[in-house]
Amino acid sequence: MSTSHDQLARVAHLLEVGRAEQALDELGRLPGDVATGVAAFRLRAAALTDLDRWDQVVTVARQGLAETGPDAELLGRLGLALRHEREFPLAERALLDGLALAPENSWLLCQYADLCSAVGQTDKAERLVARAAAIAPGAPTVFASRFQLAYARGDDRGAERVAQEFLAAWPAHPAALALHGHAASARGRVDAARRSFGQAVAHDPTDAGFADAAWESRVYAHPLLRPLRPLYRLGVLRTWLVAVGVIAVLNIVGLDLLAALFALLWVVYCVWSWVAPPLVRRLVRRRWRP
């Protein structure tokens, strides 16, 4: 018994350090009775979640529920996976079944909040996150759900604030770093985004999503795109208003030649903003993945 207990503990540790593939291998070597216990099903579903293999998470969670009876964590995994599989009503059913078993489970409440954010029911999501936050104020899942909620509302400033709070509370959490990177790039802070994504990858090198984001953030931090930083910081509309304003003022004052020159520069800048990013993306990709 103690050896199987050790084996499960080892799998849990592998998951903690982000080695989901290895954890799955270990789970495959478990003896029959342990392999069909609820703990093994939970770990298997968690490992597959880390690997974003959602269809398999659904299968494993359903199998676990069928063989070991109702379990809040497995229902939560099932709900999470079904959300990724775009089976929203079924995901809700699973999460509500889980919450019926464990109404005070902040992780489940956050899963349900994320589902509500994804279908645009942001008011309900806010109430769910508030309830989860009352139970576990500093939990990473609560921060992540607050971020998703702010993002779903289109509130980029709010999302950035949540990301900063998350990072302050969990300075080495890969999800905190990645969300901080997302928020920074949404607000046009390309260097901060590159740093955060780079650290997220350093802390969790196996996550494909972090790696992609880190790669993309390196593109935008490239020296060739340095002239475009004001554009990313201000946003297209404000930059464009400034440009048009300058041209209009120069026209009104009567400096037509200067206005024409500025307009020409502006057109070049616009063309650069369209042509340069794909070009740099190709350059960076060649260097990174030869």
Partner: protein, 147 residues
């Protein structure tokens, strides 16, 4: 603890998007180059694709009509004042104003679509078509009104 929160609300609605929407933020480009009509037409099509509420659709249509009216009014006023008419710039500003309504109304809906794993459709073809067709139609209208 009142548990109206833990009652199903997702099942009732259909969230499948029939046609892929454009990123509302990207509609600024056709707005600037094509004017209020172009962005309003694209905004209404995009609103249908995102499944926005009736009120949101009316807001986009209303803002479009108001921006077009404002463009005509400002152009008439400037030509009455005898100034050289920077017609293109006025059209671009009016388009950007109409776009503000589209972006404000459609951004949350698009964000939810993104959270569901959706990707935006390419705006190149439809955007260019809207700029050419609606832009020229609007220019003809302005010309007809001012001359």
């Amino acid at each position: 603890m009142a548990d109206d929160l833990l009652t199903p609300t997702v099942a009732a609605e259909a969230y499948e998007v029939r046609r892929t929407p454009w990123r509302p933020q990207s509609l600024l480009y056709p707005a600037v180059f094509g004017g209020p009509t172009a962005v309003t037409v694209l905004g209404l099509v995009n609103g249908a694709r995102l499944g926005v509420s009736r009120r949101a659709t009316m807001a986009v249509a209303g803002a479009g009509v108001a921006a077009l009216a404002a463009r005509i009014a400002v152009t008439l006023w400037l030509s009455a004042a005898g100034t050289e008419r920077p017609s293109r710039v006025i059209g671009a500003v009016a388009g950007a104003l109409a776009w503000l309504a589209v972006a404000a109304v459609q951004k949350p809906r698009f964000r939810a679509y993104e959270l569901r794993g959706g990707e935006p459709a390419s705006l190149w073809g439809p955007g260019l078509a809207a700029v050419l067709v609606c832009g020229f139609a609007e220019a003809a209208l302005i010309l007809a009104v001012t001359s």
